[in-house]
Amino acid sequence: MLHLKSLEVTNFGPFKGKQRVELADDAGVSIFYGENMRGKTSLLNAIRFALFGTVLGRGRRNTPFGKLINIEAQSEGERNFEVSLELSHAGGDYRLTRMGKPIPGQADDYIATAYLERGGHILSPEQMAMELERILPKDIARFFLFDGELLQEYEDLLHGDSNMGPSISAAIERILGLPKLTGARDSAKAATDRAETALALAAQGDQKTREFGNQLQNLAAEREVLTADLSRLEQELEALRGKKAAIEDDMRRRERLTTLIDKRDRLLADLEKAEVQLAQSSAKLTLAMAPAWAALIRPRLTSAVQQLRLREESLQTAVTRAQVLHSLAHGQDPTCPTCLRALNAGDQETLRNRANEAKEDGGEANQRELATVRRRLDALESQLAVSNPEALRILWSGHEALSNNIYAIKAEIEEIGRNLLEGSEAELRGLRRDYDSVVRQMVVVEDGSAKTQDALQQNNTYRENIQRRLAKLAGSEMDKERRRRDRANSVYELFKAAVDVYREELRKRVEADASKFFREMTTESDYTGLSINESYGLTILHRTQGPIAIRSAGAEHVVALSLVAALQNNAPLRGPIFIDSPFGRLDGGHRKRIIATLPKMADQIVLLVYEDELPTKLARETLAGDLRSEWTLERVTALHTRIANR
């Protein structure tokens, strides 16, 4: 079992000068408290740097070594930084030291060198590499050194189309010790192939079987080429999957940026439409504005129309009256239209005199004036109609609304532009192009791989056919080689079957243990456990509803911690767990239960937390006798943190 006994950092990240932390030998939990920007992640990175010679920055990108030296120390003339770990593993004591120093002549470029002492003796670089691989292989480090971002990745195990999933599954099988079986299986396969080549050579030595021997050897040579091709294609595919996963990861992190760019593109389309509408509205307004001057004289026009209407009415009355008089004065047996009395000749004479007087008074003139008044009324009313200020107001208001909308869209586009960092958009578009290109390459490689597999299958069929015919032609040397081939093949079949059985066994064990830890850690009593898929992805099970398809980020953390605990429980290789800010997304209830469960997850647990995330009182009460030590990352300056024992 791996145990970290001490950590010493010199001018690494925010840790200026030499600072040393001794960790307890007994099993339990150690806690480092530090607010944001005090160096919790740097401490995790110091361990990563010492063990693997890499440091992860934001977004899981490797950080250049030149960025790791303490800035204050550097400004005071220091050039090197160093991390040293004291470890115990499988009964041996180790001291691992890795330092970074500038490459001569290139002050900004750093190189890292390391040495490993075992029992006080410095090992050769080759021995060091082997020992470190034995102590803690880099590809399973994710189960020992992790943060919330890394825990979130386990969700990928639930998605068949994810590219991160297969590499995590492989790491899980690695920590669970499956490579012991897969290695034996692959070695037995290679031994079978070698035995088959030897069999072909033996067959070539005999006159009766020479032709079969030649064919077998040719097929063996072809198989070798095909196997090498397949292996190369699989490596290419693996590299492409990794690249795709990295691009997806990058794109996920830039999700906000993507949303902003998409929104801006939508706004630009809206702006284009709004500008077309504005142009149409302007054209309508131009037309409507031509007679707009008439609106200025509208009150006078209205008054003139009113006067003319009155005049029209009085003229109409006069004209009608004259017409009635005329018809009574000259008609046969006329009757008064008012009292219906029949008029006599005397009455008609009087009426004729009156009509003549009226004629002289201007009866015809009235008719002419009435016609004139009506023409003027028509002209004035049509003028009033085109000078309608209400319609103009509606047009103006629509035009203004469109203009305001355009201003608002432009302002929003400008705001988005400010949020899009310089070059970030081009980078994102580049990422999308790269993604498409990787997907296209994957299709080509997958196609090539499928064809090669077909060819290998065909090669296998031919070989089996020849071997069957060869088996009938016995020869002592051939018999010996055939027995060897058959034995190697039986060993291969044995381990192939064992891989399948053991993999299934592991899945059951991980599912059972993860469920147990999950029930201990969750506050939701209706969740009864977790179910595992082929890739070790875990789904929460509800008491009555079965699998819960969607879960929150907080639930994801609880599930991921359950998986890590189950893996630790089933791994042949065990070691300390370092967790950076693990409780940020968890409520108080879950936090408390997880803290109480931590001592069962591994013998040595180191938490890097901020005070609000894990209050000291809560940690002390919950962990009680399992709490080994407490440290504070104290601010000296913004660029200098001191590690102080509490």
Binding site: K180, S187, A190, R483, S490, F495, A497, P572, R574
Partner: protein, 65 residues
């Protein structure tokens, strides 16, 4: 977890292989199976693995006569 429990889990892998061997591949000797497992133990994997595997197979041939 106690160390002996881990040893049991390690032993379980061997038990699984042994069970399959005994039931389905009795022609593979137990010694050969154990030798293969030993050669592929992650921490102690030898550099000349192929040769060691061939030697284990040859030893099994010899034993089988």
């Amino acid at each position: 977890m106690a160390d002996d429990e881990k040893i049991n889990r390690g032993a379980k892998l061997q038990d699984i292989v042994e069970k399959i061997r005994a039931e389905r591949f009795p022609q593979v000797s137990r010694d050969l199976m154990l030798a293969m497992l030993q050669l592929h133990a992650e921490a102690d994997r030898p550099e000349n693995l192929s040769r060691k595997v061939d030697e284990a197979l040859a030893a099994a041939d010899k034993e089988a006569g």
